[in-house]
Structures are given as C-alpha cells and as structure tokens.
C-alpha cells in the first residue's frame, strides 16, 4: 500500500512538472475579449509614455471588449528582445521597429507585408522618404508612427548674443561653436560614444564630406569609401571639434544622446546634432528654454546627408488579430494624434496632412527638422552594417583619445577592417 502511494505520488509530481504552465489556450468562447499584445518603446520614455497610454485608453474606449497588453522595451534593446521572443515563439501581435532594425526583422521573416491593409489614399499621405524607408523588396513591412530626422538644434539667444547666424556649412558650424564657447559653456554637444547615437552622427559628417561608409556598386557588391582623402578629412574634422577647437565638453566619449540632452537642458552646450525628440526632453527638464531653441538643416560639407530615421510598428505574421492590430496602428497614428504627439514629444509626424496642419511645427523651432524630413536618405540595408558603424566609432574614439596619431594610418586601418567585414559576409 505504502509503495503504491509512493509510486502514485511520484507519477503525480512528475506529471505536474511536465504539464505545469504548458497549457495553451486551445479554444476561446465567442464572448471572450479580443486581445492584442504590443511591444513598445513608448511606455519606457518620458514624456512619450503617459501620452501613449492615453491613446491606448482611447482605443479601448472606442473598441469595447478589446484588451491591450503592453510590454515596454528601451529602444537600444528592442532588436535583441524581439529576436529572443521570436526564437521562443512568443512574439507579440505588434512590435516596435525602426529603420535600423527593420532589415534584420525582415530577414527573419517576422514582418507581415502591410500593403494589402493600406488604401491608396493612406499610402499617399505618408511622407515619401518615410515610405521608402519602411519598404523592403516592395513590401511595406513597417507601419511608420513618427520620424526623427536629425538637424542641428541650437540656442537662438546664444547665437544672437555672439552675433552669428545658424551654420549652413560644416566650416561655419566650427566658427559658430567657437563664437559661443566660453564661461563654462561649450558650442557643440559631441556624441562620442561608440553606439548607434554616436555612429549615426559621425556618418552624417562623413557623408557630408563626400565619403560613404558602405554602398553597393552597379554589380550589387558592397564597397566602402573609408580610406579616401574625403574620409580622412571627416575624421580630422570630428576629432578637431574636441581636441583642437575645444568646442565640445570633456567626457565626450562617454556622453551619448541622453547625456547631451541633459547638457543642453542644463544650458552647458549650445548646438547639438539631434532628432526633434530631444526638444520634448529638453523642455520637460528645463521649461525656461521654450522660445530659446531653433533648428537648422544639417550643414553642408561638399554635400549633406540626413539618414532616414523612423519608428513604427511591425505586424507578426502569426498574429490571430491582424485586422485589429492594423486598426490599432492606424488609430495611434491618425492625423490629430500625430499632431498631439509632436506637441508633447517633439517627434515629427509622418503624415503629410499632419505636417502641413500643425501650427506647432511651422515655427522656427522646427524649421530644420521639417526641411530634413523631406530630405531623409536610406541607410545601407546590409545585415553587417552595425559592425561597419562600430569600426567607424572605434576609429573616431581612437583619434580623439590620441590627437597626435597619424590620421591617414588610422583611417586606412579602419578601411581594412571594413573590407574584412565585407569579405566575411560575402
């Protein structure tokens, strides 16, 4: 008897372990609420989070019986988290995607083509460069929510005080930065970290000097122009901002985007190459700066370059609520909500209608960003692009920390490293 009880107990315990938590929702009654799972960066941010939750509440009110389950993830961890969820078969119905991650997500086959869900009028209302940045192989794989074109954000009062105009060329940018540097103020906020924030800003300078870090030739082969005299000039320019002209604050290599926004809010830097989202963050921290900021398009070297910068949604091809999910995306991104969004967060609308009808945007504060949102150009869609950008970051950090280093040699080493990466990925 004792033995039988022991065996029964052991079997019961083992079975409990095997099946615990393993039950899936096999069937749901027709009255059960529809549930959407959403992975977003918005709820981890301020001032974005509270407004986004307001939008979600409005959606639920308009759709009784619909349940929304939100999960938050910081932007720089989104790709890792989505990959992990997809590998584990737990991908939410809707998840955040950006111009940096969409190539990898598409490559994994986890982004539904949204074209069939879009009317011609809806497509025509989205800014052209944004549509291009959201489309891969003719498939509309990211529903754009807002854009963050980079421009130069500057202190209008400091420039007026120094009697200088907003910079139109890279040379002028140095002159303006020098003119407003002094009294514990620095003219230029340098994002010198070797992360996406720093690398993207350096790519803007590199391309403005006329050198492309990665491009495809006519035969479709990946090439680099790092190593050319133009690229050497770009590295020298970036290094000199910190080491020769001293217009960037100390600690540049540890100051990423957030640190520079804090420095601008603390009135320690006068110019910053940044997306319009920094405006919302700066005003939240220091409301006294309202009316003291302006923006100008990225200054020209031999040309100018503003990379596509979009944040949107991708739809899980395995989702059981695709129609509802698309409705959610459209609801969040309608014209009025995009206008409220930019007024609160500073993030630019992707709807032409919203861009044209927002009084808030059509001010000197957004001048540079409005111009930039039309001029955004796509970044290379190569799976190894992040690695190439890391090499650029390593090189500019090396030059800034060793100002006497032979720039040409350092750039040649960078070129060799980039070519090695390209060869490894053939």
């Amino acid at each position: 008897m004792k033995k039988t009880v022991l065996i029964a107990l052991a079997v019961l315990l083992s079975s409990a372990m095997l099946f615990a938590g393993g039950q899936t929702e096999t069937a749901s009654s027709s009255n059960a609420p529809q549930k959407l799972t959403v992975l977003t960066t918005a709820i981890t941010q301020n001032p974005e989070g509270p407004l986004f939750e307001e939008y979600v509440a409005e959606f639920k009110e308009a759709h009784p019986g619909v349940e929304i389950e939100l999960s938050g993830i910081p932007n720089n961890q989104a790709l890792q988290q989505i990959t992990t969820l997809a590998a584990g078969g737990s991908l939410p119905d809707i998840f955040v995607s950006t111009e940096n991650t969409i190539g990898a997500l598409y490559d994994m086959g986890i982004t539904e083509d949204l074209t069939p869900y879009m009317s011609d009028a809806e497509m025509a209302d989205i800014v052209d460069s944004v549509v291009a940045g959201s489309t891969i192989d003719g498939k509309f794989v990211m529903y754009p929510w807002y854009s963050g074109p980079n421009a130069v954000l500057y202190r209008t009062d400091w420039l007026e005080e120094a009697g200088v105009e907003p910079p139109k060329t890279l040379e002028e940018m140095v002159e303006v930065a020098q003119a407003i540097t002094g009294n514990n103020r620095y003219g230029f906020g340098m994002i010198g970290t070797n992360d996406d924030s720093g690398q993207t800003r350096f790519v803007m300078i590199l391309r403005s000097f006329g050198a492309r870090e990665l491009y495809q030739d006519e035969d479709g082969n990946w090439k680099t122009e790092v190593g050319t005299p133009e690229s050497v000039k770009a590295f020298e320019y970036f290094r000199d901002l910190r080491t020769k002209y001293n217009v960037a604050p100390p600690g540049a290599l540890e100051n990423s985007f957030n640190e520079n926004v804090n420095l601008m809010a603390a009135e320690q830097i006068g110019m910053l190459i940044s997306g319009s989202n920094s405006i919302g963050k700066i005003f939240t921290q220091n409301p006294d700066l309202q009316g003291k900021l302006g923006s100008v398009e990225m200054p020209v070297g031999v040309t100018t370059f503003t990379p596509v910068s979009i944040l949107g949604w991708s739809l899980n091809p395995e989702s059981k609520n695709k129609d509802l999910a698309v409705e959610f995306m459209k609801f969040i991104s309608d014209k009025d909500r995009q206008i409220r969004w930019v007024e609160t967060t500073g993030r630019m609308p992707v709807s032409k209608d919203a861009l044209a009808n927002s009084d808030y945007i059509n001010t000197p504060l957004f001048e540079g960003y409005v111009a930039a949102s039309d001029a955004m150009q796509p970044a290379p869609q190569a799976s190894f692009y992040p690695e190439i950008k890391t090499e650029l970051g390593r090189t500019y950090q090396l030059l800034i920390t060793n100002p006497n280093l032979d720039v040409e040699k350092a750039v040649k080493d960078c070129q060799a490293a980039i070519e090695r990466i390209i060869a490894n990925n053939k």
Partner: protein, 311 residues
C-alpha cells in the same frame, strides 16, 4: 562467482538478501522517479541550452529562419582574429586584478570584524555587506555617475580640494576606463568573499593562536602559520568561484563603458554579446562562448587536480 557466494549462504540469508535486493531495486526506481522533476529541470535549463549553444556554433544562423551549416569555419576564423585574443587578455587582466582586490579587502575587513573587542561589530558588518545586496545594474549606474566627467562626485571633490584643475575623463580615457571598472567591480563583489572568510576565520581554534603566541609568533607569523592555513579550504574555493564569475562578468562593465572607449574594456563577455545581439551573428557568438566555456572548464579541472595533489 556471485552465484557461488549465494550457494554458500544459508537459505534464510539468501532469502533475506533477495528481498533486500528486490526492495532496494523498487526503492531505487521510486527514488529515480522522484528525482525526475529535478532532472527534467536540469536538462531543460542547463544541458539543453549548453548543447544548443555548442550546436549553433557550427551554423550561420539568425535563430529564426536561417540555419546554414558552416562546420568549423567560425572556429578557424577565430584563430586569426586578434580582437578576440585581445579581449581574452583583457578578461584575464580584469579577472586577476578584480579578484586580487576583492581578496585583499575581504581578508582585511573579515580579520577586523571577527575580533572580539571590535565595537559596533554588527553595524559595520551590515554596512560592509550592503554593496552585495544591490543589483549590478544599480551599482553600475551609481558608479557611472560618480565617475562622470562633468558632474561626477570624484571630479567635484578633486576640483574642490584643488588637486586637479581640469576634470579627469575617467570613463572616456582608455588608460583609466579599465581601472574605473575594476574599482567598481571590487567594491561590488568583496562582501561575498568577506562573509565567507569571516565564517572560515571563526572556525580556526583559539588555542592554536595561544600556542603560536607561546612559541613567540608575532601577528604576521600567526596569520601566516595559523590563520591562513586554517581558512585555506574556504579561501581557495571562494577564489575559484570569484575567478569564474569575474571571467564571464558582463553587467557592470556594460553599464559603465559598454566595452569602450576604443575597446579598452571590451572583455570577452562584451565581445560575445556584441557579436550575437548587435551584429546578429549568433553562430560566431556561440563559437566565442564555447571557447570561454572550455577555458573555464580547463581552469576548474586544473584547480581540482592541484587541490587533489595537495590533499
């Protein structure tokens, strides 16, 4: 032979043995069944990921829809990859200095805290173990603020005391970044070792100290000949654990420097993370992880071998 033995036994004993054997067999079976949940968890949580990690080191994969078998290509590539060797050397450097620093602090504080005449012993003990209680992420953020060039506490104090004119770029300078990371890591990790050594110190018999004192040993000699041999088993085990933890340490370094500047703090765990989760090359990332696994296993076996030889 066993049958001959059984034949030699009286009937009653043979019967008893059979029953015992039968009983033990049944009990083993039931016992094994009871251990199944634990075994299942271990296989699911340890063995499977380990084998899966080794398997994907032979694949070019994004873990979702691309599994291209590449054989030993990534292992071959790693052999000529100087950045990997550099990251291994950096890891060894980080591990040696951090563990040594923790050991010195732990020995020092534990020796003080076990003294009978130490006032407010419990209070100091509680304060000193505090760093161990906080998550690495929190500690990382706190130390990042302390080291910040523009508004960090260290530069503020040094400038206020007129020791420096210009702020020191602790985390922006490749020659100071690793030291900054090591200091923070020592501070975070020494309490564990301290607690272990305190426990060990309390087991050293007091009469040994009295005997040593009678033999004319001063404090240093007492430590050398009584204390250290007494705590050696615990000390060596703790050191072993610390070495393994430090060798694969990630969180603090990531929070402070993300491996920079100019790869000055790119230890092997950062290298593995970046390769896998930033460059999405999971196969190559696993290759690196497998090599680290082999290094740690080799080190553990060496330690066990030396320990056995000594015993």
């Amino acid at each position: 032979m066993p049958s001959q033995k059984n034949q030699a036994l009286p009937n009653s004993e043979t019967k008893a043995l059979k029953i015992r054997k039968k009983g033990s067999l049944t009990q083993d079976w039931v016992g094994n069944l009871f251990s199944f949940p634990a075994l299942f968890v271990m296989v699911a949580m340890v063995v499977y990921p380990l084998i899966y990690g080794i398997v994907i080191s032979f694949y070019n994969t994004n873990l979702i829809n691309r599994f291209e078998f590449v054989g030993l290509r990534y292992y071959g590539r790693l052999l000529t990859d100087m950045t990997f060797y550099k990251s291994i050397l950096l890891t060894v450097w980080f591990t040696v200095v951090t563990v040594a620093g923790r050991a010195v602090l732990a020995l020092l504080f534990s020796s003080i805290l076990v003294k009978d005449n130490m006032p407010c012993k419990k209070l100091f003990r509680s304060i000193l173990v505090l760093p161990w209680f906080f998550p690495d992420v929190v500690i990382g953020i706190v130390w990042k603020w302390l080291f910040n060039t523009n508004y960090g506490l260290f530069n503020f104090i040094l400038q206020s005391l007129h020791i420096i004119d210009q702020p020191i770029e602790w985390l922006s300078n490749p020659s100071t970044a690793m030291w900054a990371v090591i200091v923070a890591s020592i501070w975070k990790g020494f309490p564990f070792m301290m607690v272990m050594l305190m426990a060990a110190l309390q087991t050293v018999p007091k009469d040994l100290y009295e005997a040593a004192e009678l033999d004319g040993c001063n404090s240093f000699k007492q430590f050398q000949h009584v204390t250290f041999p007494g705590i050696m088993p615990v000390f060596s085990t703790t050191m072993m654990l610390e070495i393994m933890w430090c060798f694969k340490h990630f969180t603090m370094i990531w929070n402070l420097t993300k491996g920079g500047p100019v790869d000055a703090t790119r230890v092997v765990s950062i290298d593995i993370y970046k390769t896998g989760f930033e460059y999405m090359r999971f196969g190559e990332s696993s290759t690196r992880a497998v090599i680290v696994f082999v290094i740690i296993i080799a080190f553990t076996l060496l330690q066990k071998f030396l320990q056995r030889k000594k015993d």
